[in-house]
């Protein structure tokens, strides 16, 4: 067991300080140290996107980021999407049946949030292109794309 390092980061809007080993990935820290199990390990290799989180607003695979890299930065996980109400993306995923087993869902939601923050009015092609780093084995993707388009429309109407 190697020496642990103290890291301060903002996680889902809350100041947080945690101890982690230099070798631990951000995904391990979130899941095993901070008990935020929404981000999933599907491959630990950057292939599947199930561990997607936002690091200072940028979409990353948390399995490819070290926990210590979070120092002084802001992290958003699926647990941070909903306020008192579900985020429009969450509600549209629910209503459009854009999930089945749901293990990829946190990653898709976080990735979709990153997209809509950059591009509130994406074309369907842009949605597909942006989500190409997230794998889903259940849905065939069609309902995911529809849910993101519907959420974008809803968010534009509210804005």
């Amino acid at each position: 067991m190697s020496r642990k390092i103290s890291v301060s980061a903002t996680i889902n809007g809350q100041e947080n300080e945690f101890l982690c080993e230099p070798r631990q990935s951000l995904l391990e820290v979130l899941r095993d140290v901070l008990n935020l199990t929404g981000a999933k390990e599907g491959c630990n290799n950057g292939n599947c996107g199930a561990c997607s989180v936002l690091l200072d607003g940028v979409l990353v695979n948390s399995c490819l980021v070290l926990g210590v890299e979070a120092q002084g930065r802001s992290i958003t996980t699926v647990e941070g999407l909903a306020g008192d109400e579900l985020h429009p993306l969450q509600r549209q995923f629910l209503e459009n049946a854009a999930l089945q087993c749901g293990i990829c869902t946190p990653g898709f939601l976080v990735a979709s949030k990153a997209l809509l923050e950059k591009n509130p009015n994406p074309t369907e092609h842009e949605v597909r292109y942006f989500l190409a780093g997230n794998l889903c084995r259940c849905t065939g993707y069609d309902k995911i794309v529809k849910a993101v388009m519907a959420a974008a429309e809803e968010m534009r109407a509210k804005a």
Binding site: L81, G102, T139
Partner: protein
């Protein structure tokens, strides 16, 4: 009525906020962590497993091997697999372990001879205070091996005297033989005969949640495991058998399941984690990496086949002959059952008076094969449907018309010499697909390197376990209240692997009890609270559970009428019995009923690169009665995309029994950029007279015929038939070039 409307899934809210717990998300205070030492050799004798250095690693609590298993055997159909392969010198294993077959009275001794027969055999379970210590210890275990010759193909396993498994003489687990009419005479008299060879490789399930589990002793002293599987009660039986414990001493609970598709039907972490908790009395958790997941569970059966199809000039099929071998890997898993389905689909859903089928499941040192969505039907129907598509070309007939002429109808006698179960809707399903497809003509392309084409396929799938298996499904209902029913507690074990089963259960229970949804409380997926629902497989769960819920509801309401409070009912639903088939002729009544599917695919082929793009895929699926249309469309779209992967993309590579595509970077599954640009799903509802509420099933059907539809579309575009799956760009480009050179 709560049937036929798209209730949002009951687990969706927890899943979108990240609160749904999958096995890997569970935590208990004081829990230990486990790792597996895998064989990683396809065929070798284990001379010694030296644990001394590993045991000395700080944090290591215990290391278990096969010698610790009270009964070192498991298997869903036959107990023919060791839980962990132990070293040869371990005399206890060799002398006392007995081979017991639940369906075969012959009790033969299986020499647990210390032989690993595939790369994913387990050798040891390392249990430690933390995962790092377990991993360090695993890497310090020293195994002394003697490598043995590897049989890495069907042909090498059939062409040798070397027997890989003591029970499978000639390296064959199971054969089926079907004979109807006189094929020789019929082929001699046929105007047209289509003859070709076909093959496909393995397919990996690649559910996004790798195997994981948490075992502990519950408050009643039971070994309890929370794991993702497909049949709680089967897991319970396998654990109890290997640990030699009474069933009630073992409890299996399924939390959220991250996809299954047949790949969680077999045992993964269940038995070894239970052993560790039983011996140590402490909670033990294990999570497999993606690479371990691909190493540690079975695949779809690779196959080779030779097929002949004879017809008259007016399009009547008069004879079909198929010889098919599947690669089972070294143990049965469910290979004999998969072979039954391949046998029952390989001549298609057609009225053919003369049939000869010979199939065999062959033992090799490749990774074991087993259940995968479709369960033999994707292989069987790839052969059957491609043969029929070639026949249509040879006849100069519309492929839809050939299917209309020959397709099963009520009363058709199948290759098993018994009638198709009543309610056959094949032609209606084909017509539904055709109407939608023909409304959208294939648009031309002007690019010189691109060719477009359209292909068709149809198919059938048995609902439920077949070939004489005693199908059953249980439900318990308790009605609470005084003057009126205030609350109904419905207990069911059926697994929601992501398909939405639990939401369908809720809707069916509300319908059966005529209660609003909010009065139904489900108790789910726990052997301690529910009787067996059977497996979430064989497209059976909605069909069988409907029967169980309906029966329990009727009995509970009767008890309520007799003023019982609470009114309690437990019901065991049993559909009509099926039979085995005759070993010489194949005569029998092996399947309860069928669902039907038809598809068309429009593709664009780049003749320079060999890349195939699917422009449009239309699927018509007769589900009998749609309990939740939105979830059914989800099943269709997801299955179509898995079928797309099987047809075009998913290339599982082994060399000498060793997996070369062990990650999602090398084993590619479809991404959102790969999938058909337009998918259209049509729900056909022809009530099945045997099914409760008219329900058939859906889960497997849309996958089964994507490959033959795409292969036919590629032919339509290029004039070249490709008989081997998957149609990778390399394979397509090579086939197109070969055709140019030859013509």
């Amino acid at each position: 009525m709560s049937l036929g409307f798209s209730l949002p899934r009951i687990d969706a809210r927890a899943k979108v906020i990240g609160a749904a717990d999958y096995p890997g998300d569970l935590h208990m205070d004081g829990m230990l962590h486990a790792r597996i030492l895998w064989s990683r050799r396809p065929h070798a004798r284990v001379l010694d497993i030296d644990l001394s250095a590993a045991r000395a690693v700080p944090g290591v609590v215990e290391i278990f091997t096969g010698a610790d298993m009270p009964r070192n055997e498991y298997g869903l159909v036959l107990f023919d697999s060791p839980v962990m392969v132990s070293a040869m010198r371990d005399g206890r294993r060799i002398s006392t372990s007995r081979f017991s077959l639940p369906h075969d009275p012959a009790d033969r001794t299986l020499a647990f001879d210390g032989i690993v027969r595939h790369v994913g055999e387990k050798l040891a379970l390392i249990v430690a205070e933390n995962e790092e210590s377990a991993t360090r210890a695993r890497d310090l275990i020293r195994v002394t091996w003697e490598d043995l010759p590897v049989l890495d193909s069907i042909s090498s396993a059939l062409g040798t005297d070397q027997q890989l498994h003591p029970h499978y003489e000639g390296n064959v687990i199971q054969r089926y033989r079907v004979r109807r009419g006189d094929v020789d005479a019929a082929f001699a008299a046929a105007d047209i005969v289509i003859e070709d060879d076909y093959s496909a490789g393995a397919q990996e399930h690649a559910y996004l949640q790798p195997e994981a589990g948490l075992s502990y002793i519950d408050e009643q002293g039971r070994i309890t495991i929370q794991v993702a599987g497909q049949w709680t009660h089967e897991d319970q039986e396998q654990i109890a058998h290997a640990l030699q414990l009474p069933l009630e001493q073992v409890r299996v609970i399924y939390p959220a399941i991250g996809g299954a598709f047949g790949g969680r039907e077999d045992m993964s972490v269940q038995i070894v984690l239970s052993l560790a908790t039983w011996r140590l009395g402490r909670p033990v958790k294990m999570i497999w990496s993606r690479e371990e997941s691909i190493l540690g569970h079975h695949k779809r059966h690779p196959f080779v086949a030779h097929a002949r199809l004879g017809a008259t000039r007016d399009g009547r099929i008069v004879a079909a002959q198929v010889t098919m071998h599947t690669d089972a890997g070294p143990y049965n898993y469910t290979s004999n059952k998969v072979l039954g389905n391949a046998t029952s689909t390989c001549t298609g859903p057609y009225d053919i008076p003369n049939v000869a089928i010979d199939t065999a499941a062959v033992v090799t040192n490749n990774p074991p094969s087993g259940a995968f969505r479709g369960f033999g039907a994707p292989q069987g129907l790839f052969v059957a449907e491609t043969q029929v598509n070639k026949l249509a070309v040879a006849l100069g007939m519309d492929p839809v018309e050939v299917r209309r002429i020959n397709g099963w109808r009520d009363g058709t006698i199948t290759a098993f010499a018994t009638p198709v179960p009543a309610g056959c809707s094949l032609v209606k399903t084909i017509d539904a697909c055709a109407a939608e497809t023909l409304a959208l003509p294939l648009s031309p392309t002007s690019a010189p390197e691109l060719r477009r084409g359209r292909g068709w396929a149809a198919g059938h799938k048995n609902i439920g376990f077949s070939f004489g298996f005693p199908e059953r499904s249980e439900a318990t209902i308790e009605l609470h209240g005084a003057a009126e029913i205030e609350r109904a507690v419905v207990s069911l074990a059926g697994a929601d692997c992501g398909q939405g089963a639990h939401t369908a259960f809720l809707q069916m229970a509300a319908a059966a009890l005529d209660l609003p949804l909010k009065k139904i409380q489900l108790q789910l997926s726990d052997t301690a609270t529910s009787g067996s629902s059977g497996s979430a497989s064989a497209s059976r769960l909605t069909y069988m559970t409907a029967g169980a819920i309906d029966g329990a509801a009727r009995e509970a309401l009767a008890a309520w009428g007799r003023e019982e409070r609470p009114a309690h009912a437990h019901f065991v639903y049993r559909p009509r019995r099926t039979t085995k088939i005759d070993p010489e002729t194949g005569a029998g009544d092996p399947n309860i009923t069928y669902a039907y599917v038809a598809e068309s695919a429009d593709v664009e082929v780049d003749i320079e690169t060999g890349h195939v793009r699917v422009l449009n895929l239309i699927c018509a699926d007769d589900v009998g009665r749609a309990v939740n249309p939105q979830q059914i469309i989800g099943q269709i779209e997801g299955a179509v995309v898995q079928g797309y992967g099987y047809a075009l993309l998913e290339n599982f590579v082994t060399t000498g029994g060793v997996i070369r595509t062990g990650h999602l970077s090398t084993y590619l599954i479809p991404s959102v950029l790969d999938v058909p640009e337009r998918m259209h799903s049509i729900i056909v509802e022809t009530p099945d007279p045997s099914g409760t509420y008219g329900i058939r099933g859906v889960a497997e059907l849309p996958l089964m015929i994507v490959a033959p539809a795409i292969v036919a579309a590629v032919y339509d575009a290029t004039g070249v038939w490709i008989n081997d799956l998957p149609l990778t760009p390399e394979r397509v480009a090579r086939a197109l070039r070969k055709d140019v050179t030859h013509s």
